[in-house]
Amino acid sequence: MKEGLGWFFQLFTGLFLVALLGVHMLGMHMDTLLPRFGMGYKDPLVFQEVLKRGHAPLFVAFYVVFLGLALYHGFYGLRAVLMEVWASSRTLSSINMLVWSLGLFLFFLGTAVSVGFFLV
């Protein structure tokens, strides 16, 4: 694959993460100030709320896309960092393997949880 396409996709995912992670963080984390202005959740982390979101198809789709983009972006960044620490073509293939296997594992885990939670 062209090296630059992977890099460009990292920037591209970054742009999307601003919106996706922005919404996620404001909703999940800013749970004191936002409700005062009539926005966000009051208690986003109680199980009833988690259950409600988990059974909304839009939320499930959101999480799977978000998960994939965040993992790609983060692990591509980790790959760049690692290849600047251990710089040689031999270590590069090990780094690629490590990053891909970890990333894919976490992607399947997160997807299984989101989809599984939706189905139960």
Binding site: G14, V18, G54, G74, V81, S88, R90, G110, V113
Partner: protein
């Protein structure tokens, strides 16, 4: 022509320490360091986060146990750091998306002394990133610990 793998002996190289300090440089040099730190920090959080939130599939008791465990002040503070790190990384990331594609850096200026360079001509943008990140981190601090 490919470069030989170890193109030079690494004696006198600054190594990883050089990511943090290589001389008395200006603002952007340290934004680079911070961007890398926050990116790796948020990634580390994401990995733990995927495991932690996956307990919801085991039902309410497991979820409550996890949330109870994460209620410890140390984790609360960690969560705050993740938020502050994310705010900085996102804002600085937007700047980098533009500038790493050659925008918001201006045109090559004529090489006339005293020299100028694109990053310094657009330093207000970097400055804005810092100010907004500080404001964001402050608001989150109020949200979490004061209000």
């Amino acid at each position: 022509m490919a470069i030989p793998l170890k193109a030079r002996p690494v004696q006198n190289d600054l190594g990883i320490v050089g990511w943090g300090w290589a001389g008395r440089y200006g603002l952007e040099r340290y934004l680079y360091t911070l961007h890398r730190l926050t990116g790796l920090g948020v990634l580390f959080y994401l990995v733990l986060h995927i495991f932690a939130t996956s307990t919801r599939i085991f039902g309410e008791p497991a979820w409550k146990a996890t949330m109870g465990f994460l209620h410890h002040p140390a984790f609360r503070f960690g969560e705050y750091l993740v938020f502050a790190g994310f705010v900085f990384h996102a804002l600085n990331g937007v700047r980098l998306i533009f500038q790493e594609l050659g925008y918001l850096l201006g045109k090559p200026t004529p090489p006339v002394f005293p020299y100028s360079y694109g990053l310094r001509d657009f330093r207000p943008v970097a400055f804005l990133v810092v100010v907004l990140a500080v404001v964001g981190a402050f608001v989150a601090f109020c949200d979490m610990f004061l209000v």
